[in-house]
């Protein structure tokens, strides 16, 4: 085996990989004849939406799928000269963790809770490299150091629950790196992490790959991540790879209508809003009974009779480099990419105008949660300052985005406004009334909510029709059953569903459809304001775009105001008139959308925008990132002074003693930082 770092040298060559699952409902072919190559030292990405087979591909290469239910077949899987397709299990085991290792999505559950981190890192060293425990321990310290975890000697004696999410993922990387493998497969390694931590982890992976010449297969749904880190890209759809090429080809000149649609349906962080998002209508096909021919046919805007037949994989038109596509109409798709899903200029460009009247006025909002911490036999109470002194307003028909990482208080703020949790202090004025526990019932109708998780937000024992009829009945909005049923049908139509779906139970609907039902339920009360708590973060990109467009349409038609809570900076930019950036319960910066994104002032906002990758490799290549160091501090024990002071690049001693006020940097643009003065 040679160890050259030539990127043209093929490390892994997979041909015709097929994975079938035998489930109670029938046979699911989760991977259907995919072929791809990985070169030594390269960073390859497999991208696609949930259920497309990207993770199954990875697990089948590692032979980690349950043997009873999964059947894996392949013409060949040549890894470094060995055919994995025919390799006996004992030799396959010797390969796992030695020459190929894998990093998983959930750092919280992927480490064994009852073994020390050190033990878990040394295991592969002892198994594969026959190191003694002592040698292995030394190597573990070296590895922990390499992945950027401070204080390695102490850290290896600790257990996973003593590590933060980001630290655990670093530990996973250390385990993967332990035997210096030739290939690391990273399956959605940053999906469960905050954006600033995501940037740390991906930079670490990239750096390690480059320094040690390890090839990486990065499996992700996040196009920004792909653009920022991948050399080459495989796009998967419904168990097949439908397009493959260098990242500049895929992003610059996509030739498959699905790839085009995918790119167009994600909002952009780096550009002002260009108009409505393109949407791919419908849902991916059910793999229990996939359609004949091209699997994208039903959702494709340019499909015709020819697409009844499966398209061959061909070289994409006009390319010199390795860029292939499986589409009969790839030439047309490539040429007409900008107009495939409707021309951007043809659809309204600006966000709808909003009124001037203030609908919701929040001032000095505090939401503290008093929890008791047991220490020995004594327990003492601690206030968690989920939201600390927050003030903002929302005007009629306006969307105010609330953005920040986990633990920043955005959700708590939404719940406090709705009085789902009664706020600790502060005034919430809605439509001219000062809200309190006593009068909240009177304004419930006008202030509604949409939740993140489309599975827990609908009562599983009620039919869709009953769910939508209930608010009409309780608030006596329609007299008589038939009037109510008419209204239910109207609501369903309004959110893009069919009236017959009133008869369905929630579990019979897809995630996107359920989210629409949740929206319809909020609309039933004819509210003036809807608090949207991460309404699209559980959805796939193409469905996410449908829901965002729906929310915008409803705003235009009904004059709704939104408080849009999300962690996805690009989505917030796209949908919001104004944006509030939060960190550890405090407002860091507030401003009009484009101003804030194009001219961020607060060091945290800048870092946040820096950390979020943009789905454009050209831009990504020229970006200079400053990556925030360290973890988000525990809200149990927030830093004194400015809460951001522990991670701030501009920090001085003053910051640690003084809590900065939210001062106007410019009219309508507030910044809470003593280092940033008004212009």
């Amino acid at each position: 085996m040679n160890n050259t770092q030539d990127k043209n040298d093929v490390l892994l060559d997979v041909e015709d990989l097929e994975v079938e699952f035998h489930t109670g409902a029938g046979v699911v072919r989760a991977v259907d004849g995919t072929s791809f190559k990985v070169h030594r030292g390269e960073f390859l990405s497999i991208v696609g939406e949930s259920g497309c087979g990207k993770s199954v591909t990875a697990l089948s290469l590692m032979r980690l799928l349950p043997r009873k239910t999964a059947a894996v077949k392949a013409k060949k899987i040549i890894f470094d000269g060995i055919d994995l397709a025919t390799l006996p299990e004992s030799e396959m085991r010797e390969l796992r963790g030695r020459h190929i290792s894998m990093i998983f999505q959930e750092p919280m559950t992927s480490l064994n809770p009852v073994l020390t981190i050190g033990d878990q890192i040394t295991e592969p060293l002892i198994t594969h490299l026959k190191m003694s425990q002592k040698e292995a321990d030394l190597r573990a310290i070296e590895l922990i150091n390499m992945v950027g975890i401070p204080d390695p000697e102490r850290r290896i004696t600790q257990y996973p629950h003593q590590f933060s999410g980001g630290m655990r993922q670093r530990a996973m990387i250390a385990i993967g790196l332990a035997c210096e493998p030739k290939l690391i497969i990273a399956d959605e390694p940053t999906t469960a992490l905050d954006v600033t931590i995501q940037a740390q982890i991906l930079e670490l992976l990239k750096d390690i790959s480059e320094r040690l010449g390890i090839a990486v297969i990065l499996i992700t749904h996040n196009l920004g991540v792909v653009a920022a880190y991948a050399d080459r890209v495989n796009v998967m759809y419904a168990a097949r790879i439908i397009e493959r090429g260098s990242s500049s080809n895929i992003f610059g000149a996509p030739a498959h209508p699905y790839t085009v649609g995918l790119m167009r349906s994600v909002p952009r962080l780096d550009k002002p809003r260009v108009g409505r998002l393109a949407t791919i209508e419908g849902m991916p096909p059910n793999l229990l009974a996939p359609p004949q021919g091209c699997r994208f046919r039903d959702r494709c805007p340019i499909a015709d009779e020819k697409c009844q037949e499966s398209p061959p994989t061909t070289t994409a038109p006009g390319t010199v480099q390795d860029h292939t596509v499986a589409c009969w109409k790839n030439e047309f798709a490539k040429e007409n990419a900008p107009t495939l899903y409707g021309s951007e200029t043809a659809i309204e460009k600006e966000k709808s105008a909003h009124g001037e009247k203030v609908l919701l006025n929040v001032s000095g909002l505090k939401q503290y949660f008093n929890i008791s911490i047991r220490e020995g036999l004594k327990s003492h109470k601690v206030d968690i300052r989920a939201v600390d002194d927050m003030s903002f307003n929302v005007r009629e028909g306006e969307t105010v985005g609330l953005v920040g990482e986990s633990g920043c208080g955005k959700t708590s703020a939404g719940r406090a406004i709705l009085h789902l949790d009664n706020p600790t202090a502060g005034n919430i004025e809605f439509d001219g009334n000062l809200l309190n526990v006593g009068n909240i019932a009177a304004v419930r109708r006008d202030m509604q909510v949409i939740f993140q998780d489309p599975f827990s937000s609908l009562n599983p024992r009620m039919k869709v029709g009953q769910i939508l009829e209930e608010p009409l009945k309780v608030h006596k909005l329609r007299d008589g059953k038939s009037a109510r049923l008419d209204r239910v049908a109207e609501l369903l139509t309004q959110v893009g569903l069919y009236p017959y779906m009133a008869d369905r139970y929630p579990h019979e609907l897809s995630g996107g459809q359920r989210q629409r039902v949740g929206i319809a339920r909020a609309l039933a009360l004819e509210p003036k304001l809807i608090i949207c708590d991460e309404p699209v973060s559980a959805l796939d990109v193409s469905v996410q775009a449908q829901i965002i467009n729906l929310l915008e349409d409803l705003q235009n038609d009904l004059g709704l105001a939104y408080v849009f809570i999300a962690h996805d900076l690009a989505v917030v930019r796209h949908i919001s008139h104004r944006v509030i950036v939060m960190y550890l319960g405090k407002v860091m910066e507030v401003g009009e959308g484009n101003t804030l994104y194009d001219n961020p002032q607060h060091p945290y906002t800048r870092a946040l925008l820096d950390a979020a990758p943009v789905p454009d490799p050209e831009i990504e290549r020229s970006r200079q990132r400053t990556i925030l160091e360290g973890d988000i501090p525990s809200p149990l024990n927030p830093p004194s002074g400015c809460v951001f002071s522990t991670r701030c690049p501009l920090v001085t001693d003053e910051c640690k003693s003084m809590v900065p006020e939210l001062d106007d940097f410019a009219p309508g643009h507030g910044v809470a930082c003593i280092k940033i003065g008004a212009s």
Partner: protein
């Protein structure tokens, strides 16, 4: 760990006090007058004055709060009062008969764990095979078979084959462990069948649950031997819920003693309990229930400590 142990020990005290209080008042609600029953038994005649005198002598005519204080003050000194029937100190009465029950409970637990662990593990690892089904039927049976009937079947089988029952004059556990084991084996099996079934079922399902965890996949992705994946990564985590069940089900085991001692005619505290109910011996009931509840609390303390030893998340919380 030391700190956790100390903490957990201290938390037991209020529980035990609450148990004592509850037992005291529960027993006072008992209808019927034990003294009257006893006197009728002795003299066949009921003279209200005699009853009153007798009650006064036994301290039953004291105001309730005085009785309560006496009871609670006596407990920490190892004084549980006297039996209303024999008028001997309860500590003596119970002390004479508790050893065999403790031995029986101990053997039954040991036997159950020894049977349950291989069965539960094998059923999980050979899930879906005929082997799994056989174990499944055996263990579901264990939950359905009344332990006293199972004991009777054992006796029947012994009589039919050996022709006699093991002698009940037991040698002490420490004097002649083998003889002791032989005597107690069948009663222990009869009372432990259910216990082992519950443990085996729990172990099987927790192993299956644990083997589906992400960290097991991680362990396999490291290229570890399957044996190490299952034993080191799987079993240790699967033990956690199993250990809890061992503690909770211990109450059932003690309950099983009540009927099993009856069947095998063992003079332990289970049999004593039934007698106390029949004779309306209020103070005896009080003492016995207190001992049973205390043993349950202590066993679960032990289980909690074992749990903490196995699970660093608990250990490091304090």
């Amino acid at each position: 760990m030391l700190r956790y142990t100390a903490q957990r020990l201290l938390l037991v005290i209020p529980t035990l006090i609450a148990v004592a209080i509850l037992v005291f008042f529960l027993v006072r609600v008992l209808p019927g007058d034990p003294v009257e029953v006893k006197l009728i038994g002795e003299f066949g005649d009921v003279n209200p004055e005699l009853i009153y005198k007798e009650r006064k002598r036994l301290g039953l005519e004291d105001p309730l709060h005085i009785q309560f204080v006496n009871f609670m003050v006596g407990l920490p000194q190892g004084d549980m009062g006297i039996s209303l029937v024999t008028e001997r100190p309860l500590t003596e009465e119970i002390g004479a008969r508790i050893t065999i029950s403790i031995e029986l409970a101990f053997f039954a637990t040991l036997l159950s764990v020894i049977i349950a662990f291989p069965l539960g593990t094998a059923a999980a690892l050979y899930r879906g095979t005929w082997f799994d089904y056989v174990i499944r039927i055996i263990t579901i049976g264990g939950l359905a078979v009344p332990s006293f009937w199972f004991g009777m079947l054992i006796i029947m089988a012994l009589l039919a084959t050996v022709g006699k029952l093991p002698s009940l004059d037991t040698a002490g556990l420490f004097e002649d462990p083998m003889a002791n084991l032989y005597t107690l084996f069948w009663p222990a099996l009869s009372v432990g069948y259910r216990y082992s079934s519950v443990i085996a079922r729990m172990l099987r399902s927790s192993i299956l649950e644990v083997l589906a965890e992400d960290y097991i996949r991680t362990a396999r992705a490291k290229g570890l031997y399957e044996r190490i994946v299952i034993v080191k990564h799987g079993m240790r985590n699967a033990l956690l819920p199993t250990v809890t069940v061992v503690g909770l089900e211990f109450a059932f085991l003690i309950g099983g003693l009540v009927v099993t001692e009856q069947v095998f005619n063992i003079n332990g505290i289970g049999k004593m309990f039934v007698e106390a109910v029949q004779f309306n011996d209020m103070t005896m009931l009080q003492g016995l229930v207190l001992i049973v509840a205390t043993s349950f609390v202590l066993i679960n303390l032990l289980v909690d400590l074992l749990y903490a030893a196995l699970d660093p998340r608990i250990r490091y919380q304090a």
